[in-house]
Amino acid sequence: MRDLLRHPTGLVGATLLAIVLSAVLFGPMLAPYDPQQFHPAMRLRGPSQAHWLGTDQFGRDILSRILHGARSTILFGLGATFAGVAAGTLIGVAAGVAGRWIDSVIMRLLDGLLAVPDLLFTLLIVTVLGGGTGHAMLAVAVAFTPGMARIARAAVLSVRTREFVQAAQARGESPIYVIGAEVLPNTMGPVIVEATIRVSFAIMLGATLGFLGLGAQPPSTEWGLMIAEARQFMFRNPWCVAAPGIAIALAALGFNLFGDALRDILDPRGRQR
């Protein structure tokens, strides 16, 4: 924690994350209005004293909708990433440790999957399974798995041949100890950094699916869906698109900066004395 205070960009990331996470936890309580309440008389107003970020095409308060939407948007990103990272790391470490033909088979399969762009991959899965938040999350997680597996495997391979791992093998340590105590702790750096950066991708992918109508469904306040619903009106009140867009960008930036700082702090070599 003290290390984080000394890391300027990490501090910015942590602050952004704190804001985003407090919206996730307390957003519905802080919201000044009911996010679903229509006010036909107040449609598409710009920011004002009463509505800080203005209103959308149904006269709903944008700030309230964003505060409510934080939960579904961020939890989607975290959940999808966590599942994808867990699956990818497991496969990658298994491939890296097993080596020989198991490694070849797993990696050639994953290479094939990697050739498909993330968005196309998620769209494919959602098309097959059908839309909705749960399926969209699963789709993003599956799309992340090959990339994470590759990173985890590369980290394992670079560590596996290091002499301290060989020293453990020469001592006659069990494979589980070698992997758990010697290899994994030294591979977690790149995995954690990649994971935090991927949270931002997941948020954006989720928003994209919402935007395309394949993720969260109306009247959800998911940020991507908000942009999709309001896009026809963006020339009459830019705020109805800009506000959720900026919210997505700031959340993504927060995770990114925090991820970088985390890597620096987690590595004992980076610490002073």
Binding site: R100, E163, A168, Q169, A170, R171, G172, N186
Partner: protein, 546 residues
């Protein structure tokens, strides 16, 4: 001052340099004075981090952006290089000052023919046409002892050996008859025999051309052989300088004396040269062969033949209890391969016997075997887990082999181990990156001895350390070996060192054991020719001071 500057080709006077870092300026060089006259070689000797390479970069005017120069001047035949413009410096480099770096495989461009790289200097600085430059290049290569210069000109770096590449680099440095050439550890990356040939070439060319040479090295024995004058640098300051004979014969400064004393000398034994008499055999190796390489899935599916490299072939060795066996050879000779096979890290065929128990494959090596045979690696930076504290690193073998049980007992034993390798007790809480190279190697040694082994395999454990640290690590190992009665396989390329501490010496060459003899018989007439070549290639030990 003007009198001195005119007589010397290269002179550095009162020069200081610092590097700007996040934590303020770090002093790299302070008040450096050097001067080299025509036809002389100045050996600049120092340990890693002493600033010897910074001097080379300063002279070449090739400093990083965060370098901050203090006072002083750098004079080439009386002209101050610090006052020159970028363009003037570019004209001076290669034409009036040459440079030969440590590693020829990185100092040559891999995408250009060797001849092209040599000819470029000639067309750029001597205004020769392409055709003239290639003809001249051949003549220059011939002068460096390359037998078929025309063919070598057309080769790419990967088609030439390390020694050949370094000859090309040297030919390039001498190409424009420069006034001064800087040699920055030019033979450190080469194997022993090639290094000796390159050193002889240097001496011959230097005498022929009368060039003023600055020869930077950490190897005192080498510098004593080839330099006329010597300057000893320590922490950015010249500690002592003068004629080589005076420095090595009667050093005035403690630091110089310490450096000279640290150089391994075969005549100064660290242990009694006679192995423990009548001791039983501890380790026996019968017709051991180690193969490398496995077929990939793709090549197996395509039915391609197995591409295997033999790392060591048909090795027979027997080591008695308490004996130190030195294994020497060039890189790639198979000496580490053997150690790794004995440590259970390489598959092998043949038989391995330890304390009467025979094993014929790697899978059969059990935990009690592995406890008895411990390995210490060359590079202490890589052999300790960066995420574990010294305490955790040392307690692992204790827990694994059940040597100590319970937190208190383990902590006590860890404390003893740390004290045994002469480190302060508070190091238990440190991470490896908070230790120096020598300290890390002590921790690695302590980890090996924590298992109370019968056999310790030392794989080049001193090679990545500075001279003075090397000596203390070698002494520590010999001391622990004597105290514990462990048998030791000491693998090294340093013949002087192995002659100091081994009872028996095994010589490996291209995967085969070519010679095996008691250390006293190193100069016996029936030595294998390759052993002779190795012994002759090693620079003679320096000075009369111990």
């Amino acid at each position: 001052m003007s009198v001195a500057t005119t007589s010397s080709v290269l002179a550095v006077r009162g020069y200081s340099l610092a590097y700007r870092t996040g934590e303020g300026d770090v002093k790299a060089l302070s008040n450096i004075d050097l001067s080299i006259a025509r036809g002389r070689t100045l050996g600049l000797v120092g340990e890693s981090g002493s600033g010897k390479s910074s001097i080379a970069w300063s002279i070449l005017r090739y400093l990083p952006a965060n370098a901050r120069e203090g006072g002083g001047e750098i004079l080439l035949s009386g002209e101050d290089l610090r006052a020159k413009t970028r363009q003037q410096i570019a004209d001076i480099r290669g034409r009036r000052i040459g440079i030969v770096f440590q590693d020829p495989s990185t100092s040559l461009n891999p995408t250009l023919m060797l001849g092209r790289q040599l000819a470029e200097v000639l067309t750029r600085h001597r205004g020769l046409t392409e055709k003239q430059a290639f003809a001249e290049g051949e003549a220059l290569l011939a002068r460096t002892g390359i037998t078929r210069p025309a063919e070598m000109m057309r080769r790419y770096p990967h088609q030439a050996s390390g020694g050949e590449k370094q000859r090309v680099v040297i030919a390039t440095a001498f190409a424009c008859n420069p006034e001064c050439i800087i040699f920055d550890e030019p033979t450190t990356a080469l194997d022993i025999v090639t290094a000796r040939q390159i050193q002889d070439l240097f001496v011959r060319l230097q005498e022929d051309t009368g060039v003023a040479a600055l020869y930077i090295s950490h190897d005192l024995a080498l510098v004593s052989r080839i330099a006329h004058d010597v300057a000893v640098i320590h922490r950015g300051e010249i500690v002592e300088s003068g004629p080589a004979a005076a420095i090595f014969g009667a050093p005035r400064e403690d630091y110089t004396r310490m450096l000279i004393a640290a150089v391994p000398r075969p005549d100064l034994r660290l242990v009694d040269p006679t192995p423990p008499a009548g001791a039983p055999e501890l380790l026996g190796i019968k017709s051991m062969t180690v193969r490398y390489g496995e077929r990939s899935l793709l090549s197996r599916l395509l039915g391609r033949a197995q591409e295997q490299v033999i790392g060591a072939r048909d090795i027979d060795i027997s080591v008695r209890k308490g004996e130190i066996l030195g294994i020497v050879g060039e890189s790639g000779s198979g000496k580490s391969t053997i150690a790794r096979a004995i440590a259970g890290l390489n598959d092998f065929t043949g038989t391995l016997t330890l304390e009467g128990r025979a094993f014929s494959e790697r899978g059969a090596l059990d935990r009690s075997y592995r406890r008895a045979a411990q390995i210490i690696f060359q590079n202490p930076d890589a052999s300790l887990n960066p995420r574990q504290r010294v305490r955790d690193i040392l307690s692992r073998p204790l827990k694994l082999y059940g040597i100590a049980k319970g937190r208190a007992e383990i902590d006590r034993r860890v404390g003893e181990l740390i004290a045994q390798v002469l480190l302060p007790p508070e190091f238990a809480r440190r991470y490896p990156h908070q230790l120096s190279g020598g300290e890390k190697q002590r921790v690695a040694i302590a980890r090996a001895f924590a298992a109370e082994p019968r056999l310790v395999l030392c794989d080049e454990i001193t090679s990545s350390l500075d001279v003075s640290v090397q000596a203390s690590i070698a002494r520590l190992l010999v001391d622990l070996q004597a105290r514990t009665g462990a048998t030791c396989l000491f693998i090294t390329h340093d013949l002087n060192l192995v002659r100091q501490l081994a009872h028996t010496i095994a010589v490996m060459y291209r995967g085969e054991l070519v010679d095996l003899f008691p250390v006293g018989a190193a100069n016996a007439p029936d030595r294998h020719p390759y052993t002779r070549t190795l012994l002759d290639a090693v620079p003679v030990a320096v000075g009369g001071v111990a």
